[in-house]
């Protein structure tokens, strides 16, 4: 109880203290004439509709066209967006948001609480058929599951406008990290009149009305997106970057060439090139932690191989992999090897001490792996044969080849199967695999976004790892005073049962133009906003 009210009031205090101005240009800095920011997209933007969009690149664009209740600053902390602050009820199930009264849509109309009510209902509405409808369930908003199933109407969603600038949300279980979830694009407001007037065409350039710092000027599918500063944005006078352009370049090496030619301000560094680029362009090559984890998921369900049902086999497989080689010789991008599931840079999370990670070196782990395999009954006269499937990518292939060599050392014959991505995913979801390459990206900056995945009631538990103690820990963590110790216990269970083989935690490895400032340096979600950017004069 006490912790929750403390959390609530500190959230209040934080947000009031942080009257975050858009671009924090320090004193005495000269701004360049040209305030255009051009960044790289791997693929075409699939949708400009916040409730329809499903991918990270779409979110990067949408965050500039729309604004949600809260934003994140360069360190991943929450700052006011449309909402100035909020109050939480004693039981942690009712949130009341105070919205600012100067927020406007790009057509001049004021942003009201109703706009959020409309967009949240829309997200859950079966008629919208959003692929992200489950996010409303994840937020535990009242009646979300029933509405998605079609048993209740969207009007019964646990959100209502008390008045134009006060929004009330009711959730079924208290979630300590609920405010963090509001940064996600699916919760952005949309203007009902525009959506209803134009239907599917409402997101076209020129028709799209947003409440973000920029408006959509041009969208050539597969070629470019152009956004221009929106003068009706409540903080427009502090927005320095005038124009934001996103160029779609389907080949990352080509994109790097064009970055070096000056056509882009930011691009991903192709795998393996970071050391060289860091040497040649030390100020431009950057590696920051990124909220995704790379693992080999083990099929411990009924359709999986007998061998994987033995915990000693699973541990042996995990111990034998030399993560340092993968991170230092193959990826070479500043990624960190992982011995647990939750990303190391997640706020407030600290990996508990794990025997196999902290008290053994790789040579000892390999020895132990051999022992465990022998105990399980495998050896030269009874070799262990397994398959590892991965989706098409040079990097996945290299890591898989390395893994197969490492496992060969302990006498495991690993067959590698490369599948096109949809086939790979389909097979995983039907449990048609032994070991499969898998990555999970967190939806918000808190450990449960990872740990919830391996509960028996999660819809994503493709390995079918069912553990009652683990389930209980995760259920209890929702109402605990401090969930962190429970998360650590959960990670310990994962280390004891080894349903997944952790390989590494992601990093964002980019080339960023030296004269661009304002991009987040410590935000594990890499949530950047065009309104925070500015270009410095030479």
């Amino acid at each position: 109880m006490k912790l929750r009210t403390t959390l609530a009031s500190s959230a209040l205090a934080l947000s009031l203290a942080f009257q975050a101005h858009a671009a924090d240009v320090p004193e005495g800095v000269n701004l360049a004439e040209d305030q255009t920011y051009t960044f790289w997209l791997l693929d075409a933007i699939k949708s400009m509709d916040p409730q329809i969009n499903t991918d990270v690149e779409g979110s990067d664009v949408l965050r500039n066209l729309f604004e949600g209740l809260y934003n994140e600053d360069g360190n991943g902390e929450l700052v006011p967006g449309v909402a100035l602050d909020h109050e939480v009820s004693e039981d942690g199930k009712t949130y009341t948001f105070n919205l600012r009264d100067d927020a406007k849509w790009s057509n001049g109309e004021p942003v009201t609480a109703n706009d959020f009510v409309y967009s949240w209902r829309r997200l859950a509405d079966p008629a919208t058929a959003s692929e992200y409808a489950w996010y409303m369930e994840l937020m535990q908003v009242e009646n979300a599951p029933e509405i998605i199933a079609g048993d209740k109407s969207p009007e019964e969603l646990g959100i209502r406008a008390i008045d134009d600038h006060t929004l009330e949300v009711k959730i079924t279980t208290p979630l300590p990290y609920f405010p963090q979830m509001l940064v996600h694009g699916s919760t952005f407001p949309v203007l009902q009149s525009v959506v209803e007037e134009h239907g599917d065409d409402w997101t076209d350039a020129g028709t799209l009305v947003g409440n973000g710092a920029y408006t959509l000027v041009e969208h050539q599918l597969g070629e470019r997106v152009v956004m221009e500063k929106n003068d009706t944005y409540w903080d427009a006078e502090n927005v320095v970057m005038e124009e934001i352009i996103a160029l779609t370049i389907n080949d990352v090496n080509q994109a790097l060439t064009r970055y070096l030619a000056g056509e882009l301000d930011r691009v991903d560094i192709p795998a393996g090139q970071y050391p060289r680029l860091k040497k040649e362009y030390p100020e431009q090559a950057v590696s920051t932690p990124y909220n995704c984890s790379y693992i080999y998921m083990l099929n411990v369900g009924d359709k999986g191989p007998e061998a994987l049902k033995n915990v000693n086999v699973r541990k042996a497989l995990a111990y034998a992999i030399d993560r340092d080689i993968i991170v230092d010789r193959i990826l070479q991008g500043g990624q960190k090897p992982s011995y647990n599931w939750t990303h190391w840079a997640i706020a407030d999370f600290e990996r508990p001490e794990l025997d196999w990670a902290d008290n053994m070196d790789q040579a000892q782990r390999v020895e132990k792996a051999k022992e465990l395999l022998t105990e399980a009954g495998y050896g030269p006269d009874n070799p262990l044969d397994l398959t590892l499937q991965y989706n098409t990518s040079e990097d996945h292939k290299k890591i898989a080849i390395a893994a197969s060599q490492m496992l060969k050392q302990i006498g495991v014959n690993l067959t590698l199967d490369n599948y096109e991505w949809k086939v790979h995913t389909d097979r995983m979801q039907n449990q048609e695999y032994d070991m499969a390459r898998y990555a999970w990206c967190g939806d918000y900056n808190e450990a449960s976004t990872y740990l919830d995945l391996l509960t028996s009631y999660s819809g994503h538990n493709n390995g079918e790892f069912y553990n009652d103690a683990y389930d209980k820990l995760m259920k209890d963590s929702k109402t605990a005073e401090d969930p962190q110790p429970l998360y650590q216990e959960a990670e310990k269970i994962l280390a004891e049962e080894m349903p997944i083989i952790p390989i590494y935690h992601y990093a964002n490895v980019d080339m960023i133009a030296a004269d661009i400032e304002g991009l987040p340096e410590n935000n594990v979600n890499n949530t950047w906003y065009g309104k925070d950017l500015y270009r410095v004069a030479e």
Binding site: K46, S47, I148, D200, L247, N253, A261, K422, G459
Partner: protein, 305 residues
Amino acid sequence: MLSYILKRLAIAIPTLLLLIVISFLLMHSAPGGPFTSERELPPQVLANLNAKYGLDDPLWKQITTYVWGIVTEFDFGPSFVYKDRSVNEIIAQGFPITLTYGLLSFAVAVIVGVSLGVAAAVRHNSALDYAAVGVSIGAQVLPNFVMAPILVLVFTLWLGWLPGGGWQGPEYWIMPVIALSTSFMASIARITRSSMLEVLTSNHIRTARAKGLPERRVILRHALKPAMLPVISYLGPAFVAMITGSVVVDIYFSTGGIGKAFVDSALNRDYAVMMGVTILVGALTIFFNLVVDILYGWIDPKIRY
């Protein structure tokens, strides 16, 4: 001739229908669907999506609804992946782009290729001939996905003369056209050359020369037309190869053309876009082959339809 054309067009329709049905069935036989993703959708959400796009109907119903939509309203349906856009819109944006650089590449390949081939044949065994053949062989084996990055490296990064990609004006057309046309130009040059060499030894050319006609007239008026026959036969398959080549151009030069949509829609299981582009390409191929056959008849009076 006219009845021949009408007959060909009449056969085109059942051909297209067969193409639609086979493509449709093949596509649906691949594992995975448009909504298969790492975040496995909860069953209810998936059910809502399938209902919205009619994917829970039996296959025969999906095909007939689809064909009916095309025949009655020319509506190719919504994209399952680019949900803001219909297939018509996607094709309307991408096709003119592909058509522009496609036609330009074709024109460049034919004009330059034929000229080079004729020049090489006329100056047989000269330095020009050897150079032309040498360059042709080199250009023919250089794949366009190697040439594209090299072009960008040279012209964008090193020289800074041309933009590295995009589609904002004529200067954006130059490198895609070069990348796409080069290997065809080389093939056309070699075919023209050998065909021309053969024609130049024929009787009617000897007669023309004996009559005292200037060499230029001999070549352009009497030799060129018959020499073009093998080139024209080559144009049919070349057209198809250029379509697949356009995928590479789209990827490397970010043109936003339809070639990439073709490949992407297969990988994304975006059934509607895939069908739309398949039909488009199928119709174009049929049409183009018809044009080639008519050209054939025009050039060679011995061929009568």
